[in-house]
Each structure stands twice: as structure tokens, then as C-alpha cells.
Point group: C2
Chain length 144, copies 2
């Protein structure tokens, strides 16, 4: 599976903004977050843009601009973040339509479709159990 770091990076950004705000700052810049994540500010802006569309963060422009949380970390779950940054399904069907004249080729897609739906529902449920507050607590609990 082409492993995807978008969820990790989004959680990183949210935890960073949340911690920064608790330290008394109003907004965080993509530059600061990019430094922490060791990547490019544009990558952060793109990702935070998706989170903004999902209502998780807000952005201000002009002087003293930057990003702030739209909700408390306690009320954000990894499922919210996952849905904001991961569009497609977990498992894909065939690239090309199987032979519809073959019994297996005809029935395989509806069969796997149904199975995958149940599995993804369970995945969503698991993701919904973890709040960004949990994430930040785990981050701060890392032993030095």
C-alpha cells in the first residue's frame, strides 16, 4: 500500500497549533509548523486548507496572519481529520472492469464492495475514538 502520511502530518499540525495557543499565542504560521514538521510551508498550507474546508481550523491574512483552531482539541477526532484529508476508499476495486461474462468477474466487485464497507465502518469507529486532545497528551508524554 502506498502508505500515506497525510493523516500523520495533519495531526502534527493540529497538535502544534493547539499547544502554541495554550502557550498564549493567537495564531501559528505555516512557516513555524513547517519547521517543526521538517517540510515546506506550502505543503502545510495545502493541508491546513483542507482542514479549514472541514471547519477544523481558521486562517487570518494580512499582518499578524496565521492559523488558529476553530474548535477545541477535545471535540476533534482523528475521524474528522481523516475525512478531511483522505478522499478515497481504503481498498480499491480493479483498475479495469473484470470480464462480466465470467461468474467471478461479474460477482467479485459487489462482493468485495460489501465486505469493504463493513471494514471501513469499523475503521471509522476506531478513528472516532481518538481525539486530538488524546494525541497531544501522548505527544507530551513521550519520554526524554
Amino acid at each position: 500500500m502506498s502508505a500515506n502520511s497525510r493523516l500523520t502530518l495533519a495531526a502534527h499540525a493540529l497538535a502544534w497549533i493547539g499547544l502554541y495557543q495554550r502557550q498564549g499565542h493567537e495564531v501559528a504560521t505555516s512557516e513555524q509548523i513547517a519547521t517543526s514538521a521538517n517540510t515546506n510551508p506550502v505543503v502545510i498550507r495545502r493541508l491546513l486548507g483542507e482542514l479549514r474546508r472541514a471547519g477544523l481550523v481558521e486562517s487570518r491574512r494580512g499582518v499578524g496572519a496565521g492559523w488558529s483552531l476553530a474548535r477545541e482539541l477535545e471535540s476533534m477526532t482523528l475521524l474528522d481529520v481523516y475525512e478531511a484529508v483522505e478522499p478515497g476508499p481504503l481498498f480499491a476495486m480493479h483498475r479495469t472492469t473484470p470480464d462480466q461474462g465470467c461468474v467471478v468477474g461479474y460477482g467479485i466487485q459487489p462482493a468485495m464492495q460489501g465486505i469493504y464497507e463493513g471494514i471501513e465502518e469499523t475503521l471509522r469507529h476506531e478513528l472516532a475514538r481518538v481525539t486530538l486532545e488524546n494525541v497531544l497528551r501522548d505527544v507530551l508524554a513521550a519520554p526524554r
Copy 2:
């Protein structure tokens, strides 16, 4: 997520071989399976090679060669197939190591690591609940 059709294709191939054997045939060829899946025989051989390494199928060479199941479909689960064809973890960490001098950059990877492990364990449990026999039954149950 770069959606991955390997699990779907592997399930297709196993269901095809299983059904073919129940119809009284000894072995199935990669050519036949490729026709059903509407792809290239080499793609099928590569994938079945991974399933062979996992002990799910066997192959014979020479005249009258082909593939056969190494176990009954009832004793194979989607987890067996998943582990055979999907090497990496479901969610990836950052591409580049985050800033270890930053509290969040330092703690984010162990934090997400622990969270992801729990989620993947649940995913494995779900995959283990579905046997290839279930898959074949669903395939044959597709309405014409």
C-alpha cells in the same frame, strides 16, 4: 490514500481457482485468471507468487502446469491474503524526520505509532473474520 487493488485482485484470483477446482479441474492457469480479471497474466503470476510464499497456493510447472489452492477456502481469511500482498503499515509517518528539538516534533511519531498500532490491530481482526469461502459465496450470490 493511494488506493490499492492488490487485495481485491488476490481475492478474485483465489475465488476463481477455488470455483474452478470445485468444477473438477486440477489447476488453473494465470492466463485464465487474467482473462477473468481483465489484466495481464504476468500481473497474476506476480501476485500468486506472493500468495505461494505465504502458503496459500501452489504452482506446478511443465505441461499441464498451473495453480491450485494449498488449503481450503474456509481456512483462508482476508487477513492471510492482506498480509501476503500488503507489506507496509496502513498509515505512514512523516517522510522526513520532524524537528527533534521541538516538543511536538519529538513526541508526534511515538504518539501516532501507538495509536496506529491499535487501529491496525482492529483492522486485522476485521479482516480475519472474513474467509475466502465467504467471499466466494458473496460472489455467487450476486443477482443477475
